[in-house]
Homo-oligomer: 195 residues x 2
DNA sequence: CAATTAACCTAACGATCGTTCGGCAGGGAG
DNA sequence: CTCCCTGCCGAACGATCGTTAGGTTAATTG
């Protein structure tokens, strides 16, 4: 009933699509590009996915779901606002660095989705932002954080953190842990928390 | 020798192209889209520009040149590292907020340029980053700034600041001045400078 | 006046796009 | 064995792409 290669072509299509979407952009990547990189013919892709947009949809949805659940788990393990902020930033940087290809696509190709597909992704992103904003709001109310507008601060933190996908490489000068630490410290400082 | 409408079509083409490139992305925008929005026929665009990529090239180059020269001027008017950092961030946010369409395109469509055109833009971006990194390095040497890796810090600051194009609208809840102030304060805090 | 040029047009070029149709191989099920 | 389903294929569909060739108009120049 189940072949030993079950889903292997599908997974390979997702992998090469993510890589191509990152390198060329969604609209500059053709189904023929994807097929060639996956070792099959363009028509065969449609045995696994309904459309080119469906591939992008699955890539973005998968990453954002993992990002959101990781952040929730990390925040739940901390016991105060400062700890939760640090935990969220830590998982944010770690996930964006280790899955940079997916993260890059998820952060830059939202325009390419249409209608309800785009709204579904926006819904996940909103929940993620609200998770962070709740932490910031609690920190301000507790008096442990000192910042201006909470929403603005959340945009600052997320933009800063997401930026790691644009430059960090595992073989580069800085280790993942060193990078994560400096991002977390920057986040805490931005919120008026001494380290 | 000079018509009273000199360059008005050209300017209009740049304006509508920037708007379309931001809304749809470069590759999802067709020459026919641009022509329709500018009130002319596709073939007429080629009287003003050599190619679709040439339009993008001019948009990105123009914005980055203005960004770089504005930052240089602002930094020159300050007299210490802290003042220069604040001045650079202030002009960065202000320019990204007031020219958000251009800034968005310049920050997201680098992939769409090919060969030497892309390298020319990268050269400008590198000079901009170096301007900021010099300020940070001086601040660390003076002892007025306390941060880990200087390059990493510059990426954090620029990613945070550039992010303003993704959410701020002039008709929104927060005024430009309030937004600029919170970004500058966040930058100073990130660099270990008390406010 | 004639000559030139800027600005724009219609029409069409070849290429490439996402997608679909119909079929073929092969392995498991009845 | 026959039947069916999975996975993949060749071939082609209509649409759209960036771009070009050649022509028209109106204004400017000498």
């Amino acid at each position: 009933m189940e072949s030993s290669q079950q889903g292997s072509s599908r997974k390979r299509l997702l992998d090469v699509s993510a890589r191509l979407f990152r390198e060329l952009g969604f609209h500059a990547t053709s189904m023929r590009d994807i097929a060639r990189a996956a070792g099959m013919r363009p028509a065969s892709i449609y045995h696994h996915f309904d459309s080119k947009e469906a591939i992008l949809r699955e890539l973005m949805w998968g990453f954002l779901v993992e990002l959101l659940s990781s952040a929730r788990d990390a925040a739940a393990r901390a016991h105060d606002a400062r700890g939760r902020l640090g935990a969220i930033m830590r998982t944010h940087i770690r996930l964006h660095a280790t899955k940079a290809t997916l993260a890059f696509v998820a952060d830059t190709e939202l325009r390419a989705l249409q209608g309800v597909a785009q709204q579904e992704i926006l819904m996940l992103r909103d929940r993620y932002e609200e998770l962070l904003q709740d932490v910031l709001r609690h920190g301000v109310e507790e008096g442990t954080m000192h910042l201006g507008d909470v929403k603005l601060a959340s945009y600052q933190l997320l933009a800063m953190g997401t930026g790691v996908v644009f430059w960090w490489r595992p073989e580069g000068r800085l280790s993942l842990e060193a990078v994560v630490d400096q991002y977390v410290e920057a986040a805490l400082r931005m919120c008026g928390i001494a380290t």
